[in-house]
């Protein structure tokens, strides 16, 4: 599904990632872990096409297509989705407005309002999200947990194939984390093509969404790859302990 080769990325003239390599296959869940500030979120932003991040060299292919040649909208329509760490407020634009526009652009057809409303309220029921979210301005006045739920609501409507969870667990209480993780696991299991990149520096979320692979990011690139047991080892030794070991 996604292959990153020798990627070097800078932001504000500072190199954040250097010769970064990672691969995520269809139906894989891959965790990317590392200490604060090493560039974990950067890789999500670069994949999504955030113009603030400059790709200095390297390549990213998505389903055998050159991702770096695509703009943000094309990447989204091809099935890439980012659950933001701190979803932004969009005053004056309701969730219904946003999703109507997004679905119409994706399908290239005017939506049937009744069908759209029915699907949206059905998803709210399934995710235990208040229906009042539908007509609220996007993320305005919402707590961190509510914003993350909102992102998952959008995900369920837009039906992407490749999902990036940028520190989904930050700001979520135990119950919300469990509920959202279970909703995501269900979503991923519905279609064997769907893959997921989980960016985190805790193992809590990985208790619910078990990764096939765990990558440790330090020194601007991946320094170690393992299975879920690597994440449990980090839980005990910490990233500093792991850094000493890899040296």
């Amino acid at each position: 599904m996604l292959k990153i080769d020798n990627l070097t990325v800078s932001v504000n003239n500072k190199i954040i990632l250097k010769d970064f390599n990672m691969e995520i296959k269809d139906s894989e869940v891959v965790a990317l872990m590392g200490p604060n500030g090493v560039g974990k979120s950067t890789i999500c932003k670069v994949i999504m096409g955030d113009p603030n991040y400059i790709v200095e060299s390297g390549s990213i292919t998505y389903n055998n297509e050159d991702l770096l040649k695509m703009d943000v909208v094309t990447r989204s329509k091809k099935g890439i989705y980012l659950v933001n760490q701190n979803p932004i407020e969009v005053e004056g634009v309701t969730n219904a407005d946003l999703l109507r526009s997004a679905v119409e652009e994706k399908t290239n057809e005017r939506i049937n309002i009744f069908k759209f409303d029915k699907e949206l309220t059905g998803i709210c029921d399934e995710l235990d999200i208040p229906k009042s979210f539908i007509h609220r301005d996007v993320n305005v006045g919402m707590s961190g947990g509510e914003r993350k739920k909102n992102e998952i609501l959008h995900l369920y409507m837009l039906k992407p194939d490749f999902i990036m969870l940028d520190e989904l667990d930050s700001g979520l209480d135990v119950d919300n984390l469990r509920e959202l993780s279970l909703a995501l696991t269900k979503y991923l299991n519905e279609d064997k093509k769907r893959s997921c990149l989980i960016v985190t520096h805790h193992t809590n979320i990985l208790e619910y969404i078990k990764p096939n692979k765990v990558n440790i990011l330090m020194d601007k690139h991946i320094v170690e790859t393992g299975d879920y047991s690597l994440a449990k080892k980090i839980e005990v030794s910490g990233f500093k302990g792991e850094e000493n070991e890899t040296k």
Partner: protein
Amino acid sequence: MRLNNKSIDINDSVNIDVLGNSKINIINPDSDIKLNIHLKDNSNLIINDFNETKNDIDYNIIQDNNSIFNMYHTFRISDNYNINYKVNFLGNNNINNVYIHGVSNGMVSMNVDGILPSGGENNIVNEDIKVLTIHGSCFISPMLHVSNLNVIANHKTAISKIDENIIFYLESKGINRASAEELIENGYLYGIYEDKEFIKRIRSDINE
């Protein structure tokens, strides 16, 4: 003119005494408008005002005692546009909330004055002004002249271009830039109205 528990449309300059609970709607006036409005004791007035013409508007509001005034004014302008708003509190225990949001593709000039003279008390005035300058400019002079005792006075004024972080967020959902800008603009134009019927009327007027 006296307005007592009524809802009316206005398309012209007028002097109005308000009693009871009333509403004034203005959509795309045919000429410049000057409104002199006097809220008598215990009255309640809502003004919904939408403008895509270049016709200027002057509001002169006076509030006696225990009155409530809420104004929701939005605009989208490609020419020169002037808004002058003044509220004068003659008495006590009044509430005045003014929301002016708009999109400037021309040149907008706004004076928004709240006058709370000495002798009055327990008045509340809130000004919330937000203008998106896409291809135009805007000048705002928001003033609060406060000599009242025990007053709550807030003003919030912002002139901005479109936030590129919001554009990126909407594009990441698959919404192209032009549609994203339209969504944001519509947010400025329709987002503040509590009266959904008024929004329907605006949209219907635009489509004609």
